[in-house]
Symmetry: C3
Subunit: 273 residues, 3 copies
């Protein structure tokens, strides 16, 4: 089933409009190209809607947010909703500042998201309307382990159901759920946390998968999460001294570029709950 | 002849002022350093003119455009014209939104460009004053093939003549012309389309070549186009599984760094028409 | 002693808030992660203070400056001062434009910096209140050599004493001084000048080192400068044809990732003056 989600990306080469932060935007563009999609970045309110109209998917990422970008996100998101184009939200740093949490909540209120992809601290901030995120990484207490899995899953399912979206919560065990069914994904590698942009790249990938699999956002998000985790493993296996995080970053992009639908199907490590 | 264009870049180490998008700006800075030039990025209207005055070349790139940047471009471009500093335009996404097309046309009206470097969809949007570009990549119908070469060349020549500039149109067969003479360049590799920034990097390179070869913008642009194409081939030849687009990106920069004037002369695959 | 400065970064994993340019921001985030710190980038005046409050260190980098960012820097810097969080200034391009020099001087007036990290042209612009920097690289006359060392050191010491900060001036022989004691560092490699961001990455590293070694900003800055120089050497030693600046960039990040406190202690080449 996951094979199909990637195969469709490669076949349809969806154009994905990203309004995203300037820290990892280059990585996001490259990962979209690597998976077979096509990126377009445009964040000015003066063209956001028009650009979205050309696209098959829209990704809104709150990193390095400012008011101009937020305006563009609202315009683009509404246009996407009107046209039936799937929208992915990455609430980077929600909970870390009043501005980010407020922006995330406003977007949640005004736009329907096909998928929300974040770490547990960010999702908690969205669910509770506040938070105390430590920067842009999930707090240690918010990492999903075998021990905390049942509770975390119940929380995320409830959030997804209430927000009428697919939630993809990554960090430790990744949880992808539409509120009813859930993928618990145990793919991935700690090296993904030693480069910037792994989360942003996953959200961009999710945008491509959601665009190419409009009828099934849950499978799309699960496909993207498993693809990223698996590629993290592939890249990490290639790291040999004196390689480090620089080489890992290159290998990760290589792995996405070379990943076949069959490898994704075979290699993804998940259970349905 | 092309050898000379690169040799001059390495000798004079021109400082190139780029007002460019935040997606590929790091790649542009790195490619300028790799070819022996020196980058300076500054996009605030409060300093754009002053920074341009220090530079030997100016590159205006419309990716992730906003009003502030457009103001800076107009100021910097006029100052460059007044000082005789060559200006390169990369009309990224012209045709994809009213704002981008309008900005490109306004720049074209108010500033004299030594070189305009874009894909055929973007050049068409400039030539016709409108367009329907699919994102930032050329529409498939706009790719120059052996079959469409004669017609495409006539079109680009007419555009260059009317705009009194050198047009460098890349994608498939690359066309570089001042309206009279034309280089038809068959260097390059499809992998260049699988990373972000190949076009932007080429425009940055063109800025360096134009700065170092002020007396001959046509040869300068042809040198840059051939250099990029050749380096794409060199980089692609180095890609071996499990390498992919990540490694290609690194190899491309390596290739620009190592390219010698003699290799450029020998390796460039072009005909004059 | 330098070993300890790095060991503390790895132990405390400081969160470093960077308000920095969009050219090298990705490199800065990656180098912070590579050294064991954690980056957060946020440049909007609406959240700058709040984000700084979460952080252990703050880095202000003047590349691609605009008024919005400058406002954020002033707010964040003052908050950091109030909370005792060390602040690092990288006056990129001070001396190259009136706006940059003015902004640097204003920051210097309103904020106390633990460390100011720049090239000699930039430091000269700060010290003299004006300058004629050639772009963002130090003028050739401003490169510290064995011949100019004594004079340069006296100048930088006087600047550090007057500004009540640690000055870390890099290029040729690197000078790190609090106005009394000085590290003259002879680590480093010319390849560091052939990629963009070596200076910015060093400033980000300095932010991490200063955050983890609050009691000794001089040792912190010296540790960061030696670490970067040493990693430049390690990376350059790994470059073999057909490698070039692209591979060097990857190897540099790898070197920071793999650097141990003992290697830093053993490998750093400095004298105290």
């Amino acid at each position: 089933m996951l094979a199909e989600t990637l195969a469709r990306v490669r076949e349809s080469a969806p154009l994905v409009h990203c309004i995203t932060n300037y820290v990892t935007v280059n990585d996001c563009a490259n990962v979209l190209l690597a998976c077979g999609a096509s990126p377009i970045m445009a964040d000015d309110p003066g063209e956001a809607e028009e650009i979205t109209s050309l696209a098959a998917g829209l990704v809104l990422n709150l990193g390095t947010l400012d008011q101009r970008k937020l305006s563009a996100m609202l315009l683009a998101g509404k246009r996407a909703n009107a046209l039936g184009i799937p929208v992915v939200l990455d609430p980077v740093g929600a909970g870390a500042s009043t501005m980010r949490t407020g922006a995330a909540l406003r977007l949640l209120e005004e736009i329907r998201f096909a998928v929300i992809r974040g770490n547990m601290s960010e999702i908690r901030a969205l669910a509770l309307g506040s938070g105390h995120t430590r920067g842009v990484d999930a707090g240690a207490a918010d990492r999903v382990t075998e021990r905390s899995l049942a509770e975390a899953l119940a929380f995320v399912k409830a959030f997804a159901a209430r927000a009428e979206t697919v939630a993809a919560v990554t960090g430790g065990i990744d949880l992808v759920t539409d509120g009813r069914r859930a993928f618990c994904v145990r793919s991935g590698h700690p090296m993904l946390g030693r480069i910037t942009g792994a989360g942003c790249m996953l959200s961009a990938l999710t945008g491509a998968f959601a665009a190419a699999n409009r009828d099934d956002p849950l499978a799309a998000a699960a496909g993207a999460v498993c693809a990223m985790g698996l590629c993290g493993e592939t890249a990490a296996a290639r790291v040999q001294p004196p390689d480090g995080s620089g080489s890992f970053r290159t290998y990760l992009l290589d792995a996405v570029y070379n990943l076949t639908p069959e490898e994704l199907e075979r290699g993804a490590n998940y259970e349905l709950r």
